[in-house]
């Protein structure tokens, strides 16, 4: 299943609900475009909900990092919400768990942007 991205606003935070796979050719580019679109519109608070992401590869991990650095370089903040076990384990393996601000609870994640 390819990646689907739904966008919603909660208290000034743009939440992107991601579902499916973030892999080379199946979601990496969609994610990149979605982040760039938000940044270009001046959105400074972005929360990626990965609760329905059932597969990610090294390209997808790289895309998450690029999204993070792109946001940071533009003065925006990008955080992660609800990791599946697979994504969690890969972020641990690659030490990216130390890079991202990660939350399991949406309300707490939204509040952390204030």
């Amino acid at each position: 299943m390819a990646l689907t991205i739904a966008s919603r606003e909660v208290d000034g935070v743009t939440v992107l609900d991601l579902s499916g796979r973030i892999t080379l050719g199946e979601g990496s580019v969609q994610l990149r475009d979605a982040i760039r679109d938000l940044i270009s519109k001046g959105q400074k608070k972005i929360l990626l909900n990965l609760g329905e992401v059932n597969y990610i590869d090294s390209s997808g991990l790289g895309e998450l990092v690029s999204a993070y650095t792109t946001a940071k370089n533009q003065g925006a903040s990008l955080k992660l919400l609800k990791l599946t076990k697979k994504v969690h384990d890969l972020l641990q393996l690659t030490k990216l768990y130390t890079v991202f601000d990660i939350s399991d609870d949406e309300a707490s994640a939204i509040a952390s942007f204030r």
Partner: protein, 129 residues
Amino acid sequence: MESVSEIEKAAERMAEEAGLNEDERFHVSMAVREAAVNAVLHGNQYDPGRKITVVFENTGKALVFTIADQGNGFVPEEVPDPLSPENLLRGTGRGIFLIRQLMDEVHFRQLNPGTELRLVKHLAPDKKT
């Protein structure tokens, strides 16, 4: 990239038939996918005139996946460590690292031209070190 998806699915099926648990199946399918992506992208550099060769084998003691490209070859020891602070925020360069982490054994062989990766997942539960 369609061939990569086919290879990934075949590895997943083989892992399932061998009785691996969900985590192990994911590790196998992901490592094989990463190796296949490397072969197509970095090895053969998307050249349709170059082929990748994939051989799957269940020896009874291990699943063995051999993936070979026809590229210019590379030195695995020269791949930068993606965990070092200067590389942690790079957008690429985690594939080989993940393959090594997810499989029990990873062997590289230069083919002149090309590179062969042999990925091994032991079937005995206590073999993982």
